[in-house]
Protein backbone atom coordinates (compact mmCIF):
# COMPACT_ATOMS: atom_id res chain seq x y z
CA UNK A 1 0.00 0.00 0.00
CA UNK A 2 2.35 2.67 -1.22
CA UNK A 3 0.88 6.05 -0.43
CA UNK A 4 2.43 8.97 -2.21
CA UNK A 5 3.24 12.12 -0.32
CA UNK A 6 0.63 13.98 -2.39
CA UNK A 7 -2.09 11.75 -0.96
CA UNK A 8 -1.13 12.82 2.53
CA UNK A 9 -1.31 16.57 2.18
CA UNK A 10 -2.31 18.59 5.17
CA UNK A 11 -5.76 20.20 5.03
CA UNK A 12 -5.56 23.39 2.97
CA UNK A 13 -7.84 25.49 5.11
CA UNK A 14 -5.98 24.72 8.31
CA UNK A 15 -2.62 25.40 6.67
CA UNK A 16 -3.96 28.67 5.33
CA UNK A 17 -5.15 29.76 8.79
CA UNK A 18 -1.84 28.95 10.40
CA UNK A 19 0.03 30.93 7.76
CA UNK A 20 -2.34 33.89 7.88
CA UNK A 21 -2.11 34.05 11.66
CA UNK A 22 1.66 34.10 11.46
CA UNK A 23 1.77 37.06 9.09
CA UNK A 24 0.54 40.64 9.38
CA UNK A 25 -3.01 41.21 8.13
CA UNK A 26 -1.84 43.34 5.23
CA UNK A 27 0.13 40.46 3.77
CA UNK A 28 -1.44 37.98 1.37
CA UNK A 29 -0.22 34.57 0.39
CA UNK A 30 -0.42 33.42 -3.22
CA UNK A 31 -1.90 30.03 -4.08
CA UNK A 32 1.44 28.66 -5.32
CA UNK A 33 3.15 29.80 -2.13
CA UNK A 34 0.43 28.19 0.03
CA UNK A 35 0.82 24.94 -1.82
CA UNK A 36 4.61 25.08 -1.48
CA UNK A 37 4.37 25.81 2.26
CA UNK A 38 1.98 22.92 2.74
CA UNK A 39 4.23 20.49 0.91
CA UNK A 40 7.23 21.78 2.85
CA UNK A 41 5.38 21.03 6.08
CA UNK A 42 4.73 17.43 5.00
CA UNK A 43 8.39 17.02 4.12
CA UNK A 44 9.30 18.48 7.49
CA UNK A 45 7.25 15.75 9.20
CA UNK A 46 9.20 13.08 7.35
CA UNK A 47 12.49 14.81 8.07
CA UNK A 48 11.86 15.00 11.82
CA UNK A 49 10.51 11.45 11.90
CA UNK A 50 13.56 10.12 10.14
CA UNK A 51 15.94 11.83 12.53
CA UNK A 52 13.91 10.89 15.62
CA UNK A 53 13.74 7.27 14.49
CA UNK A 54 17.53 7.22 14.36
CA UNK A 55 17.55 8.45 17.97
CA UNK A 56 15.29 5.68 19.16
CA UNK A 57 17.18 3.05 17.16
CA UNK A 58 20.41 4.06 18.89
CA UNK A 59 18.97 2.70 22.12
CA UNK A 60 17.10 -0.16 20.45
CA UNK A 61 13.73 1.28 21.33
CA UNK A 62 10.86 0.61 18.94
CA UNK A 63 8.61 3.43 20.11
CA UNK A 64 9.26 7.03 19.17
CA UNK A 65 9.14 9.03 22.36
CA UNK A 66 8.79 12.72 23.13
CA UNK A 67 12.49 13.13 23.96
CA UNK A 68 13.39 11.58 20.57
CA UNK A 69 11.47 14.35 18.85
CA UNK A 70 13.12 17.02 20.96
CA UNK A 71 16.55 15.57 20.24
CA UNK A 72 15.76 15.46 16.52
CA UNK A 73 14.70 19.11 16.50
CA UNK A 74 17.92 20.14 18.21
CA UNK A 75 19.99 18.04 15.85
CA UNK A 76 18.31 19.58 12.80
CA UNK A 77 18.85 23.15 13.98
CA UNK A 78 15.31 23.84 15.12
CA UNK A 79 16.27 24.41 18.77
CA UNK A 80 14.19 27.55 18.92
CA UNK A 81 11.09 25.33 18.77
CA UNK A 82 12.12 23.25 21.76
CA UNK A 83 11.22 25.59 24.61
CA UNK A 84 7.74 26.55 23.37
CA UNK A 85 7.05 22.93 22.51
CA UNK A 86 7.94 21.70 25.96
CA UNK A 87 5.65 24.29 27.50
CA UNK A 88 2.82 23.24 25.18
CA UNK A 89 3.39 19.58 25.93
CA UNK A 90 3.15 20.29 29.63
CA UNK A 91 -0.17 22.11 29.18
CA UNK A 92 -1.48 19.33 26.96
CA UNK A 93 -0.63 16.69 29.56
CA UNK A 94 -2.11 18.73 32.39
CA UNK A 95 -5.34 19.23 30.50
CA UNK A 96 -5.57 15.52 29.84
CA UNK A 97 -4.98 14.75 33.52
CA UNK A 98 -7.79 17.10 34.50
CA UNK A 99 -10.12 15.46 32.02
CA UNK A 100 -9.25 12.02 33.27
CA UNK A 101 -9.97 12.86 36.90
CA UNK A 102 -13.27 14.43 35.92
CA UNK A 103 -14.12 11.44 33.76
CA UNK A 104 -14.72 9.19 36.74
CA UNK A 105 -17.95 11.07 37.41
CA UNK A 106 -18.94 11.46 33.74
CA UNK A 107 -20.52 9.06 31.33
CA UNK A 108 -19.00 10.89 28.40
CA UNK A 109 -16.10 9.19 26.70
CA UNK A 110 -13.73 11.26 24.63
CA UNK A 111 -12.85 9.01 21.79
CA UNK A 112 -10.73 11.52 19.95
CA UNK A 113 -8.05 11.59 22.62
CA UNK A 114 -8.01 7.86 23.11
CA UNK A 115 -7.25 7.12 19.49
CA UNK A 116 -3.90 8.82 19.78
CA UNK A 117 -2.96 6.67 22.75
CA UNK A 118 -3.18 3.57 20.63
CA UNK A 119 0.18 2.39 19.53
CA UNK A 120 -0.14 0.78 16.18
CA UNK A 121 2.28 -1.77 14.95
CA UNK A 122 4.22 -0.73 11.92
CA UNK A 123 3.89 -2.56 8.61
Amino acid sequence: MAEKLEDLNLPNLTVQKIIKDALPDSVNVGKDARSALSRAASIFVLYITSQATKESQKVNRKTLSGPDIIAALEELEFDEFVEPLQAMLKEFKEAKQKKKSRKSGDVETEENDEVVEEEETGE
Binding site: V15, L23, V27, R39, L64, G66, I70, E120, E123
Partner: protein, 116 residues
Protein backbone atom coordinates in the same frame (compact mmCIF):
# COMPACT_ATOMS: atom_id res chain seq x y z
CA UNK B 1 5.05 53.90 2.02
CA UNK B 2 5.04 51.80 5.18
CA UNK B 3 8.24 50.32 6.47
CA UNK B 4 9.45 46.89 5.38
CA UNK B 5 7.23 43.97 6.37
CA UNK B 6 10.22 42.33 8.04
CA UNK B 7 10.02 44.60 11.08
CA UNK B 8 6.30 44.02 11.57
CA UNK B 9 6.66 40.28 11.30
CA UNK B 10 9.35 40.07 13.95
CA UNK B 11 7.47 42.35 16.32
CA UNK B 12 4.29 40.33 16.32
CA UNK B 13 6.07 37.00 16.28
CA UNK B 14 6.02 36.25 20.01
CA UNK B 15 2.92 38.22 20.76
CA UNK B 16 0.80 36.49 18.17
CA UNK B 17 1.77 32.92 18.93
CA UNK B 18 1.26 33.37 22.65
CA UNK B 19 -1.97 35.27 22.48
CA UNK B 20 -3.42 32.93 19.86
CA UNK B 21 -2.78 29.90 22.07
CA UNK B 22 -4.21 31.55 25.19
CA UNK B 23 -7.20 32.84 23.29
CA UNK B 24 -7.99 29.41 21.88
CA UNK B 25 -7.85 27.83 25.33
CA UNK B 26 -9.99 30.51 26.89
CA UNK B 27 -12.57 30.39 24.12
CA UNK B 28 -12.77 26.65 24.21
CA UNK B 29 -13.12 26.49 27.97
CA UNK B 30 -15.78 29.15 27.88
CA UNK B 31 -17.83 27.15 25.42
CA UNK B 32 -17.29 23.88 27.32
CA UNK B 33 -15.40 22.29 24.46
CA UNK B 34 -12.07 20.64 24.91
CA UNK B 35 -9.24 23.10 24.34
CA UNK B 36 -7.59 22.85 20.95
CA UNK B 37 -3.92 22.39 21.52
CA UNK B 38 -3.23 21.40 17.95
CA UNK B 39 -4.72 22.70 14.74
CA UNK B 40 -3.30 20.15 12.32
CA UNK B 41 -4.97 16.71 12.35
CA UNK B 42 -2.99 14.27 14.49
CA UNK B 43 -4.09 11.26 12.43
CA UNK B 44 -2.91 12.74 9.14
CA UNK B 45 0.45 13.59 10.68
CA UNK B 46 0.69 10.06 12.00
CA UNK B 47 0.07 8.64 8.52
CA UNK B 48 2.82 10.79 7.07
CA UNK B 49 5.20 9.63 9.79
CA UNK B 50 4.32 6.01 9.03
CA UNK B 51 5.64 6.44 5.51
CA UNK B 52 9.06 6.01 7.06
CA UNK B 53 9.68 2.25 6.99
CA UNK B 54 11.82 2.41 10.13
CA UNK B 55 9.10 4.11 12.11
CA UNK B 56 6.84 1.64 13.90
CA UNK B 57 5.35 2.78 17.18
CA UNK B 58 4.69 6.37 18.06
CA UNK B 59 3.97 7.59 21.56
CA UNK B 60 1.23 10.09 22.16
CA UNK B 61 3.72 12.70 23.31
CA UNK B 62 5.82 12.20 20.20
CA UNK B 63 2.80 12.61 17.93
CA UNK B 64 1.75 15.77 19.73
CA UNK B 65 5.27 17.19 19.48
CA UNK B 66 5.63 16.41 15.79
CA UNK B 67 2.24 17.93 15.00
CA UNK B 68 2.90 21.02 17.06
CA UNK B 69 6.41 21.50 15.70
CA UNK B 70 5.02 21.23 12.16
CA UNK B 71 2.69 24.11 12.99
CA UNK B 72 5.61 26.10 14.34
CA UNK B 73 7.57 25.21 11.23
CA UNK B 74 4.78 26.46 8.97
CA UNK B 75 4.72 29.76 10.82
CA UNK B 76 8.49 29.97 10.65
CA UNK B 77 8.70 29.24 6.95
CA UNK B 78 5.87 31.65 6.17
CA UNK B 79 7.63 34.46 8.04
CA UNK B 80 11.00 33.73 6.46
CA UNK B 81 9.43 33.72 3.00
CA UNK B 82 7.61 36.96 3.72
CA UNK B 83 10.93 38.67 4.39
CA UNK B 84 11.89 38.23 0.76
CA UNK B 85 8.61 39.67 -0.41
CA UNK B 86 9.29 42.80 1.62
CA UNK B 87 12.51 43.42 -0.23
CA UNK B 88 10.60 43.45 -3.51
CA UNK B 89 7.95 45.77 -2.05
CA UNK B 90 5.17 43.29 -2.86
CA UNK B 91 2.33 42.48 -0.49
CA UNK B 92 1.74 38.93 -1.61
CA UNK B 93 4.04 36.07 -0.70
CA UNK B 94 4.80 34.02 -3.79
CA UNK B 95 6.51 30.71 -4.37
CA UNK B 96 9.75 32.42 -5.36
CA UNK B 97 9.86 33.93 -1.86
CA UNK B 98 9.60 30.45 -0.38
CA UNK B 99 12.42 29.33 -2.69
CA UNK B 100 14.50 32.31 -1.62
CA UNK B 101 13.99 31.43 2.05
CA UNK B 102 15.12 27.85 1.35
CA UNK B 103 18.24 29.12 -0.40
CA UNK B 104 19.13 31.57 2.32
CA UNK B 105 18.28 29.92 5.62
CA UNK B 106 20.66 27.08 6.60
CA UNK B 107 18.12 25.02 8.57
CA UNK B 108 15.86 24.92 5.49
CA UNK B 109 18.42 23.22 3.26
CA UNK B 110 16.54 19.93 3.53
CA UNK B 111 13.89 21.47 1.28
CA UNK B 112 16.37 22.28 -1.46
CA UNK B 113 14.90 21.05 -4.74
CA UNK B 114 12.05 19.31 -2.94
CA UNK B 115 9.36 21.77 -3.94
CA UNK B 116 9.65 21.58 -7.71
Amino acid sequence: MEEVAEVDVEDVENEKSQSTETLEVVEALASNEKPKFVRLPLTRIKHIMKMDPDCSLISQDALFLVTKSTELFLEYLAKESAKFMGMGKRKTVQKRDVDAAIDNVPSLCFLDGALE
